[in-house]
């Protein structure tokens, strides 16, 4: 029997699965889709903006103020240290794919010419602070228009920027290629050489070259291309499918499998079994029938509305369809407004959780002792405008995993060097009404396996 079933194959689900499996658990990961990593930007966000226009330079320095302004935000529960440790944990696992964090956000060009803040970038995305850049895009990539990108970068990055088009089909006869096809083609050194030639043919003596993020899927060829072009090369973000996201997804999935996680994709979790206080099994609709997956613990990492983990019916009723969990953030009448640029409050709806990431009822009661919700399902964040989704995903996933790994099944702060017993408030929820969260009785147990990384 499985120790833990993880539902969801995005950054949160994979992180939790890896942590649990490496600690010796038998883990089964169930997912209907491929996971959200390849829909995102392929970097690790922590916090990019405070409010609509306040750019964050050092995200962890903002946490205290952020928590004051956003008491219901997942970061207020997790705290700066945990989030930093969590993303560092991820960076350490992916040394070839993520540049270690130094506390500061990186600026990253996007396909509309924004300089988007993000915390951990891939090595192919480090902005070299050029005074001039050539922005180059193949005509076959229809989500990247170098002239638009260049003109906007001139303002957003304060560089001299010039756009250039090259015409080099990834496959003969194709007017358009998916980024996946193009990225795979560039892994062939001959194709890459022709590509470099086409670029050199166009560009001038700019300091650096910005290209769409298609420089190799399984192996990033940015270093080789930079050598051929004799200057730094930067990958700019595209709409999905995200090649950088696929690189991370492949690496993490491989690590999960190497750690013994059983991965079952393409089937939907449709329900569960419970003894009242605990979830005893989840139901997977597989091959035309329902199959039960018993587990001692469940990590629920299904995403938010974007993956149908939350749904709103035609009468406006919002539910979480698998466990029918209580949802926070519904008690307002402006969940959706007519201002396109405003954060729509509906997207902050989700589960409110305790320190172990277990969903709570409105009264602060733990819903199921062994069910943990993590990632995009957590209430209180507008992940895309804050640029906070990855930090929330990894940190909450590791928090849930650590709770599961502890003998009590709940998380407590690590013991201090002097071996103080954990403070009793650990089980408190982020909100004031945390009175009786889980079972206070169990809290005092010292966390043995926590912080194992």
């Amino acid at each position: 029997m499985t120790d833990t079933v993880v539902i969801g194959a995005g950054l949160a689900g994979l992180s939790a699965a890896i942590r649990l499996a490496e600690a010796g658990q038998k883990v089964t990961l169930l997912s209907f889709g491929l996971g959200g990593i390849q829909l995102g930007q392929g970097t690790i966000d922590v916090l990019g903006y405070r409010g609509a226009d306040t750019l964050v330079e050092r995200p962890f320095d903002e946490f205290a103020a952020w928590a004051t302004e956003h008491p219901d935000h997942p970061y207020s529960l997790l705290g700066a240290d945990v989030v930093r440790d969590s993303v560092d944990w991820l960076a350490a696992r992916l040394p070839d794919l993520l540049v270690p964090g130094d506390g500061r956000n990186h600026p990253l060009p996007t396909a509309v010419g924004a300089m988007r803040p993000t915390y951990l970038v891939q090595p192919s995305m480090v902005w070299p602070d050029p005074t001039s850049v050539a922005v180059v895009g193949p005509a076959q990539i229809k989500d990247f228009y170098p002239h638009l990108v260049a003109a906007n970068l001139a303002v957003t990055a304060q560089v001299e920027a010039t756009g250039y088009r090259i015409d080099l089909p990834a496959r003969a006869g194709e007017a358009e290629s998916s980024p996946v096809v193009y990225a795979k083609a560039l892994e062939d050194p001959d194709v890459l050489a022709r590509f470099a030639e086409a670029v050199l043919d166009q560009i001038g003596d700019e300091d650096a070259v910005v290209l769409p993020a298609i420089l190799g899927l399984h192996q990033c060829v940015q270093p080789q291309l930079a050598a051929l072009l004799k200057r730094p090369v930067v990958e700019a973000l595209l709409p999905p499918p995200s090649i950088p996201g696929m690189r991370i997804n492949e690496a993490l999935t491989a690590q999960a499998k190497a750690a013994g996680v059983r991965v079952i994709l393409g089937s939907k979790v449709t329900g569960f079994e419970s003894d009242g206080s605990r979830v005893t099994a989840v139901t997977l609709h597989q091959a035309g029938r329902d199959q039960s997956y018993p587990a001692s613990h469940v990590v629920f990492a299904p995403g938010g509305f974007e993956s149908a983990a939350l749904v709103m019916d035609s009468y406006g009723t919002i539910t979480e369809p698998v466990f029918d969990l209580p949802l926070a953030g519904l008690d307002r009448d402006d969940l959706i407004t007519g201002d396109y640029w405003a954060d729509q409050a509906i997207f902050a709806v989700g589960t409110r959780v305790d320190q172990s990431c277990r969903p709570l009822t409105g009264d602060g009661e733990v819903v199921y002792e062994n069910l943990h919700t993590v990632g995009g399902l957590l209430a209180g964040a507008i992940r895309w405008t804050e640029k906070s989704g990855d930090g929330i995903a990894v940190a909450s996933a590791l928090r849930a995993a650590d709770a599961i790994l502890s003998p009590t099944g709940t998380w407590s702060p690590p013991a201090s060097p002097t071996d103080q017993p954990p403070a009793p408030e650990v089980v408190q929820t982020l909100q004031e009404d945390a009175e009786d969260d889980a079972d206070p009785a169990t809290t005092p147990s010292p966390p043995e396996e926590d912080e194992n990384v």
Partner: protein, 595 residues
Amino acid sequence: MRKLATDVVVIGGGSTGIGVLRDCAMRGYRTILLDRADLAQGTSGRFHGLLHSGGRYVVSDPESARECASENSIVTRIQPDAVECTGGLFVTAPGDDPEFGDRFLAGAALTGVHAEEISVSTALAREPRLNPGITRAILVEDGTVDGWQLAWSAAQSAIQHGGQVLTYHKVTQVHHGDGMVNGVTATDLKTGEEVWIECSFVLNCAGPWAGQITHMAGLPPVAVIPGRGSMIAMSHRLVNTVINRCIYPADGDILVPVHTVCVIGTTDHKVDDPDHLAIPRDEVQQMLDAGEELIPGFRQARALHAWAGARPLIKDDRVAASDTRHMSRGMAVIDHSVRDDVRGLITIGGGKLTTYRLMAEHIVDAMEEQLGTSHPCTTAEEMCPGNEAGRNYMITHRLKEREEDRSRSPIICECELMNRDMFVSLLKEHPHANLDDLRRQLRIGMGPCQGGFCSTRAAGIAVEEGVVDAERATGLLKLFLENRWTGTWPILHGDQVRQVGLDNWILQGTLDIAHVPSPTKVETDPVDDPVPSDPVDDPVPSDPVDDPPLHDAVDDPVLADPGEEPVPSDLGDSPPTDPMTESPPTDPVDWKEAT
């Protein structure tokens, strides 16, 4: 100030105004059409897309039924690419009075509307999603029509006959002296330039805005009572035949398959301001309920977008002003020479898009009567340009075209199968257009993702082709997304929430579109028009549904945006008077589209 001279000025670029322009031009009058926005941006673009067979009116309004039957076949013939011959069904839903079907058949026989009762099982075989509880089904020759295609192809025809179209020209005054109209002044919203147009006749086809025009002429008020009709486009065609309830016309009793969607409509509420048409949530619920009665499970289908149009009803003293449904649906013609002793001005209200050509014929006849002239109307005989005889629209046309050209031109809007070449070619014709102007002709951004993927591509291409600079392109992109949202948020639920989540993730998250510089206002011109307030916009066709009203034909819009800018020619200086007699040869500009 730019100066032009012409015989006739038509105010309003909806279907009525465009029909009138075409008719005037074909009868040999030099004619200029003005609209403060783009063609068919108002009511003619904000209906459900029904091309009436006349069935809807066989009981309630036999004369309209007769007109619809004959105009349906004319429009289908002269503008085949705008019309899809879907056929229509009048069905008796559970709870509806089955006897109405008998009255329907009797009315159809009297009015010449082709109608044939078919068995319920035949109807269900044809439309399997129909409520199996229906008790009767009557087949009619309803079609569906794209109001924008209709408007543009008629405008092209008019241009071929010498007519001119000046979009994004807002009329500021209608001048008259000695009891006679002598000119119109307008503002070119793209440049801010004032335009004086000397003319001897003005045809006020401004629909819901017609009262504003007569006000600009300094005449006693004409009471226009805009009737707001709201509609919802559902993703996919849940039916391929127009489905009507076989009842006395009411709200939410029609489902129209148009292009890639089907449209449920409509409601009818009196409003004060045709520029501000909200779509209240309770109206949305009412329409979803109505859909559920026709198609069980309708609420589980995906709602994409909502919009509202304003029916241009002129007040009829015989009914209460708040009951727009029962006001005359026929066309109202106000001859100001009779009413106000001002010759050379006629105001038109009411009408229906289906009968736009016939209305235009009547209006131009009325003008000629006042002028004491008479020329034959030939608009029913000549096909509009861009059409192929007998080749009516089918939803598969674009698929076939893309299969043929996909190795030459990338598909920019996958939902609507619009490729780069189509976009670039229209953009170059209308370099001042905004993305919504292009959308109305190309359908870019009108599918399930509502611009999530295609909008940034459109902006990038516009820059790459050298048509606009990056700042304006970014502004157009943001404006387009704002306008799409206007029609999305009032109906947001179900799978479309998921889509919005993904779109926001991509556009606001990954691409960080909010932090790319753009002009504070995309249009730099002095536009003092209202910005679109509410959900209005969109889809397809025009005409309201129900019973009453409409003609939707005329009108203009609501959005204040950017548009194109015609290049006019100058005429010299003195504002001429007395135009009609001999007009100074000017050669008015023609719009780039001419040719």
